[in-house]
């Protein structure tokens, strides 16, 4: 394995192990999402959701829960000198980007594994949509992971870092959300999952992921310069 790959694997393993041991992000994100569902139940005065309402509630909640995870992504690096270590190591610095983005992706997948069934339990009539929905979730998570890692790595060096990350990230993920909700809305329709323009929206999601993974990977080196 090249040094960069070793670095990637090490950082990723460290992050996942730390999360497993301290459980500081994931339970909070899951709890936040669940409580938000309850708030929506009362806010919308609905006990079941379908179509665009279901899609909107699900994606808005997932997005805001993801922001919680994004905020915490680089805090340990900042506080414990992880950035300096990467700078000193003779490796491709984008390995840090890849590792952190993968970690965030894993957190989001785990979050959704817990939260989406709860959403189905609370609001959906059947679980038929969940399998195709998983595909949408997978692609969307890639996009959030790429952009979230990029923005978070900059926000962590700023004042008011908890504010700056979400502020900049939210407009940035609007196209992602448009595509994700566009694909989910027919899936969650009342009569059963529909696939109107499903392929097109997946293509948009993939394009978004590709572009921002590339951008993140390309500029990350400049972010770590001293």
């Amino acid at each position: 394995m090249t040094p960069s790959r070793i670095a990637f694997a090490t950082i990723l393993a460290k992050d996942l192990r730390a999360e497993l041991r301290t459980l500081q992000s994931l339970p909070a994100m899951a709890l936040f999402a669940t409580t938000t569902f309850v708030i929506f139940r009362f806010g919308l005065d609905r006990t079941s959701l379908s179509g665009s309402l279901a899609s909107g509630v699900l994606w808005a909640t997932l997005l805001f829960a993801a922001l919680l995870g994004v905020n915490r992504l680089f805090v340990s690096e900042r506080e414990e000198g992880g950035f300096d270590a990467i700078r000193l190591a003779p490796i491709d610095r984008s390995a840090l980007f890849a590792a952190k983005a993968t970690a965030l992706f894993v957190y989001l997948m785990v979050l959704e594994l817990v939260v989406v069934p709860i959403f189905a339990l609370f609001f959906l009539g059947s679980a038929a949509a969940l399998l195709p929905l998983a595909l949408v979730l997978l692609l969307a998570n890639l996009g959030i992971a790429a952009t979230g890692t990029l923005i978070s790595s900059m926000a962590v060096h700023s004042r008011a870092r908890d504010l700056l990350g979400p502020l900049v990230l939210l407009p940035l993920v609007v196209p992602l959300m448009i595509a994700a909700t566009g694909a989910s809305e027919p899936l969650l329709a009342l009569g059963g999952p529909g696939y109107h323009r499903f392929g097109t929206w997946l293509a948009v999601l993939s394009l978004y992921d590709l572009i921002f993974l590339l951008v993140g990977y390309a500029v990350f080196d400049f972010l770590l310069e001293d």
């Binding site: 060096h157 004042r159 700056l164 948009v204 951008v215 400049f222």
Partner: protein, 241 residues
């Protein structure tokens, strides 16, 4: 020397704007669908196109900054984005006026280009708090350049996604106005586009000259060992020297 060429540039801009206004109100024919309201487009669309290109130019300058490390590119990038945001305000206001005139509401979600522009505007509006939150000037410049590049990549994606989200094929009046523009309208439109683009370039140059002058003053002050001025210097606008 940033001020060099500013005078001929501004003269050209004045001439272009006068020519454009004359064409709009005395030469261009009245639109069959929209009537007199269509005249707003000669202002709104060139502003929008110029602002969007301005954002892209800001991204290009940002790439130069990242690759060369020369701080002047960061200043150019900032000013380009700054001017495009200001033009963006004009786009949204004129777009809103047009919406009110056409459809009776000050904002409509039916016009995908306007909605996309709103999202792009919101994205670039975060450029200022983002810069302001990063204290170290060198880091601020670098991160701002990364932002400009990321946001530049975001713009086309955003337009595509918003356009696709239109489920109804709404008869967009801008669509009918643009596709198959008669010769006189197209000519007027192009002159307006040139005038607004010249205005953008002139204002960017003006802003850079002002920044440069301010930078020279600081330099002079340092050389003379004079005490620092009372008013606090801007913390987000990069210096030009």
């Amino acid at each position: 020397m940033y001020g060099k060429g500013l005078r001929p540039l501004s003269i050209a801009t004045v001439v272009a704007i006068l020519a454009a206004l004359s064409l709009v109100f005395f030469y261009a024919p009245l639109d069959a669908d929209q009537g007199f309201i269509q005249k707003i487009f000669y202002l709104h669309v060139p502003l929008a196109i110029t602002a969007l290109i301005g954002f892209v130019i800001g991204g290009v300058f940002a790439i130069f900054h990242l690759r060369s490390g020369n701080r002047k590119w960061d200043a150019y990038s900032y000013v380009a984005i700054h001017m495009s945001v200001i033009f963006g305000v004009a786009v949204l206001i004129t777009g809103s006026i047009w919406a009110k005139a056409s459809w009776g509401h000050w904002w409509v979600w039916d016009e995908p280009t306007l909605v996309s522009f709103l999202i792009v505007f919101l994205m670039y509006a975060t450029y200022y708090p983002f810069r302001y939150a990063i204290e170290d000037p060198e880091r601020q410049g670098r991160y701002a350049s990364v932002f400009a590049v990321t946001a530049g990549a975001f713009v086309p994606l955003n337009f595509m996604a918003v356009r696709m989200a239109q489920s109804l094929v709404h008869p967009r009046t801008f669509g009918t106005a643009n596709g198959g523009l008669p010769g006189e309208m197209m000519f007027t439109f192009l002159v307006c586009l040139a005038a607004v683009a010249l205005l953008w370039v002139t204002l960017v140059k003006l802003e850079l000259t002002a920044k440069s002058t301010s930078g020279q003053l600081k330099r002079l002050r340092r050389a003379l060992d004079a005490p620092a001025p009372g008013a606090g210097a801007s913390r987000i606008a990069p210096e030009v020297s």
